[in-house]
Point group: C2
Chain length 234, copies 2
DNA sequence: AAAACTAGGTACAAAACCGTACAAATCTAA
DNA sequence: TTAGATTTGTACGGTTTTGTACCTAGTTTT
């Protein structure tokens, strides 16, 4: 089994003190994170916690019925397994990769020991969990008060924040599931954004063309968790 | 200044070990919590953390614009100041009393010291924060996928869980703000519920008549955070 | 190269919801 | 008890979103 070096693309790992990193390193192993790979299954014990380096995951809430909606994104700025970080061992939400990438993972048990050993490690992980909580709250706000077009702009911005390129390999179908709207509703909304020159869409790929204008469109729905992240992880 | 006794209506305090309770008690002071009393102001440092004994508070997310929506309720089952518990000192969300009551409060500074001193105390508070996170995720789900009538049923159930009586003193206006819909939309939806015999509405008061049927109507949108709470705080 | 599959574009009527408005009912205070 | 304020009921046209369907265009498989 390979062991991770200190040289990582994950922004939480890269902010850890040398001591905290040494605490985790022996237990971290690199993993490939292909599209749709499941990181957490609703109501099943969480086995591993993932420090994502490239790509991002969707955290999806599902009701007791089958309907689902995304409540947040986690990429290289964060870590999955927030339930573990907060002392639970599972969550009713699903987590799976939405854009393929890779990362480092640690078993939930090993992470628990490490957090018990180091308060500073626990603290930094908790602060990220707090930022994610803000993200979820803002998602609730957007879902309740914004229209599809604005929510789509918001989602694209959050995705763009988490990838290096301007091309996002996404289908309308999955965007619809994430936003909780019809597939064809996404198609139409994307058409509007494209006609405004904010994006370009090809089969399976959306390209961010004018980010500033997207931010303007998303307006108040974008930026709150992002600035909290900046503030706490300056 | 009065000092709290161990005999409290707050379900978190009542689950603490004797030692943890003794750690907090010297710093807890009883407070009256009138309607609309502000417990947290967006982006201002949090001064006090409130263990609610009666009544409940709304946690409200506000965009950089003025629009707001409720992302969760906290009553005697919980505690406010989740940002503090998670190592931040403020939050972009507002928190204020939605149904008058009372509780015990502790300064954020004193709570921080107590949490540093006792890992078991910190753990129980974090587990509640996790439950609240699930509640927020479910709110995002309901906002995105359910219609006003169902969301209203969900809200009434969550409120009912947090009061002793069947009467909820609420105006349509405020319900509309919480749910992110028109005031008259609430009036109409309440009319539907009343005609179905699930509730009774008088000026400023909504009475829960048939809770079971309300749960059926809310369907999959109600119950997930509630069962997590039960599971973790058996 | 044909067939099968996946993704995207478009349409249309129905439903949900909004903004706005106004009047009736109820409560409060002078 | 009267004036004022708050709360609720109801209406109407307009916008947003939905459910469903069907067709086209790419992509993969055989």
């Amino acid at each position: 089994m390979q062991t991770a070096t200190a040289d990582t693309g994950n922004r939480i790992l890269s902010r850890l003190s040398r001591a905290d990193l040494h605490l985790l390193m022996p237990h971290l192993s690199p993993v490939d994170l292909p599209l749709r790979k499941s990181l957490e299954v609703p109501n099943k014990p969480i086995d591993y916690v993932y420090f994502i380096e490239r790509g991002f995951a969707s955290i999806v809430a599902t009701g007791s019925g089958g309907d689902a909606i995304e409540v947040g994104l986690i990429g290289c700025e964060g870590v999955t397994g927030l339930a573990v970080i907060m002392g639970a061992n599972r969550s009713p939400n699903a987590t799976y990769m939405q854009l393929a990438g890779n990362g480092l993972r640690i078993s939930a048990a090993n992470l628990r020991s490490a957090m018990e050993e180091s308060a500073s490690l626990h603290k930094i992980l908790l602060q990220y969990a707090y930022v994610f909580m803000v993200q979820t709250a803002q998602t609730a706000l957007a879902n309740g008060r914004s229209k599809v077009e604005d929510r789509l702009a918001r989602w694209l911005l959050m995705a763009h924040d988490r990838v290096a390129k301007n091309d996002l390999p996404l289908t309308h179908e999955f965007l619809g599931i994430m936003l909780g709207v019809r597939r064809s509703g996404v198609t139409v909304a994307l058409g509007v954004l494209e006609r405004k020159g904010l994006i370009r869409a090809a089969r399976g790929i959306i390209t961010i063309v004018n980010r500033k204008a997207l931010e303007k469109l998303a307006g108040s729905t974008y930026g709150v968790p992002e600035s909290e992240l900046k503030r706490l992880f300056s």
